[in-house]
């Protein structure tokens, strides 16, 4: 058992491909656009185009496809459960029943709903993962800060917000590593996490989550002190060490993304939605 192995979201996979070098603002906007599109897809064909596009990006960025799949693995049980629920519980007038057994019955509408929702979650996760895999934490921060800057006009502390988000992202891996150690420390004292009934199993989580929370708070406090010791006072008046420039490659990548998006939009509009 090794928890951190399956965590790909928030991990940066250093590389020298042109995807890595693209302006973070462009990558964030492209990811945002794709995620927004996902919310409107209600048939299978646009997902085909979507899959084509992100597979191309994954290959261009030199990310092993296997690594993306490893990251999806922990979500599998939840996705399967979700799919079953949609299949059995969703229906709409005029839907055809495909299977019925005892008190359960599944309609074609439920099947489509289950498939489409599952794909939506998978793609959402993959798009975000690709973004963090190819963008270093510093670039991500810089990009987000600039993109959110207009919100400062209405009094939203964007720099602080971004900082918090980035720290949260970093902590995913740190906490997973810590969880790994805590589970081992308690297993060493004979906890059998997989034995007992539901209540007994739930009770066994206390010795794991208590130290995890306490350590998380301690870590947060240490981080605050470390930041203050280096005179961090929030976003006001902070300048950047690196300035971002959009270049030709960014323009081209942007155009390609837009073309694919337009194609997806065209399919969304022309194909009769299944839901």
């Amino acid at each position: 058992m090794e928890l951190t192995r399956n965590i790909t979201l928030g991990v940066y996979l250093p590389g020298e491909t042109f995807i890595h070098r693209l302006d973070p603002r462009l990558k964030i906007m492209a990811a945002g656009l794709l995620i927004t599109l996902l919310l409107f897809i209600k048939s299978y064909q646009p997902y085909g185009i979507f899959l084509l596009f992100i597979t191309a990006v994954i290959l261009a960025a030199g990310i092993p496809v296997k690594y993306i799949l490893i990251g999806l693995k922990p979500m599998l049980p939840v996705l399967i459960l979700m799919w079953i629920f949609q299949l059995l519980l969703y229906s709409k007038p005029g839907a055809e029943t495909i299977i019925s057994w005892w008190i359960f019955s599944a309609t074609d509408a439920g099947l489509h709903m289950g498939n489409l929702i599952t794909m939506r979650v998978l793609f959402l996760f993959t798009v975000t993962t690709i973004l963090t895999l190819t963008t270093s934490i510093v670039s991500l921060t810089d990009g987000l800060e600039i993109l959110l800057k207009p919100l400062q006009k209405v009094g939203i502390p964007t720099q602080e917000l971004v900082m918090t988000m980035i720290i949260a992202l970093r902590f995913v891996l740190i906490l997973a590593e810590e969880l790994d150690k805590i589970i081992k420390a308690q297993m060493a004292r004979g906890v059998a996490f997989d034995r007992g009934n539901f209540i007994q199993k739930t009770k066994k989580l206390f010795p794991v989550f208590l130290p995890l929370f306490i350590n998380a708070f301690r870590r947060a406090e240490e981080l605050i002190v470390a930041m203050e010791a280096r005179s961090y006072t929030g976003g006001k008046g902070r300048t950047k060490m690196k300035t971002l420039h959009m270049g030709r490659a960014d323009l081209r990548a942007g155009l390609v993304t837009l073309t694919f998006s337009a194609l997806i939009v065209y399919l969304i509009v022309t194909i009769k939605p299944l839901l």
């Binding site: 192995r5 308690q186 060493a188």
Partner: protein
């Protein structure tokens, strides 16, 4: 009931771009009643190896047999194995969770489904073994303890399971000299009085030289040197070549020997050093 490791390999994050090969085809045997020190530079695989001993890590390749139980065997009772082989982590914060010291130490025995009377007995014994005064500490808040006391509570929590083999993973790191000495005294007593097999991972050569009967030196996931403590430290140059330091007393003795004093090249503890230096001075033989 020895520990037998053969052909053990392990990689972290296997199959990902971050794959990190930690152990390569490692074989090792540890007998009952031994006090084995495991040393090696950082990233040499010390902890990974030790976590195989109580099945916290299951072999990816190779075999680990502990007390006759193959840890890779799906039928093996790993929970009972982990009670036989205790593991104390470097950071007690990963282990301590109950509101009071007494309750935390009772956690292991409670998992063994012992009756309350037996649990109480185990807790009292364990607290005595690590030198925590029962009346004072039993109802103490765990987070009010000092670093050294936390370590001792953590060790007690593992001892309460009555292990026959005890793995101590760098348990003196970050302690002040007094706290360090207290812990080492506890460890020494456990080995001598309770005859517990001890596997002692440490970055301090002084500690290992002073305690261990046998030493395993790891480097890059393989055994670099293995042997009796004196034999291992006799190969000082090789140890230094992989970035390990020598015990301080030995370092001093070697420096004196370079100046022409007649001193043995291997000195493991302060007493030995004192004797050797005294007799060298008595002989009064200084070259040139």
């Amino acid at each position: 009931m020895p520990i037998e490791v053969s052909g053990l390999c392990h990689s972290y994050k296997k199959g990902t771009p971050f794959e990190n090969k930690v152990l390569h085809d490692l074989s090792l045997k540890i007998d009952d009643g031994e006090f084995v020190g495991i040393i090696g530079p950082t990233q040499s695989g010390k902890t990974t190896l030790a976590q195989h001993f109580n099945a916290l890590i299951i072999p990816q390749k190779g075999r680990v047999i502990v007390n006759g139980c193959d840890t890779a065997d799906r039928q093996a009772d790993l929970v009972s194995l982990r009670h036989q082989v205790g593991y104390v982590f470097q950071n007690p914060d990963y282990q301590l969770f109950a509101p009071t010291v007494g309750e935390d130490i009772a956690f292991g025995p409670r998992n063994q489904k012992l009756n309350n009377h037996e649990i109480e007995k185990r807790v009292s014994e364990a607290m005595k073994q690590v030198g925590l005064d029962r009346d004072y500490f039993y109802k103490r808040d765990i987070f009010a303890l000092s670093g050294g006391q936390k370590r001792r509570a953590a060790i007690a929590g593992v001892l309460a399971c009555k292990p026959q083999i005890l793995i101590l993973d760098d348990i003196t790191a970050g302690l002040d000299p007094q706290g360090r000495e207290d812990i080492l005294t506890v460890v020494r007593k456990l080995h001598h009085e309770e005859q517990i097999t001890i596997i002692f991972i440490s970055n301090s050569m002084d500690e290992v030289a002073g305690l261990a009967g046998k030493i395993v030196v790891l480097d890059q996931g393989q055994i670099f040197i293995e042997g009796l403590t004196r034999e291992v430290f006799a190969r000082a140059d090789e140890l230094q070549a992989i970035g390990l330091e020598l015990p301080e007393v030995m370092d001093v003795a070697r420096k004196l020997a370079n100046k022409g004093y007649r001193l043995p090249t291997v000195v493991l503890n302060l007493e030995e050093a004192l004797d050797a230096i005294a007799s060298a001075l008595q002989e009064g033989q200084v070259a040139d």
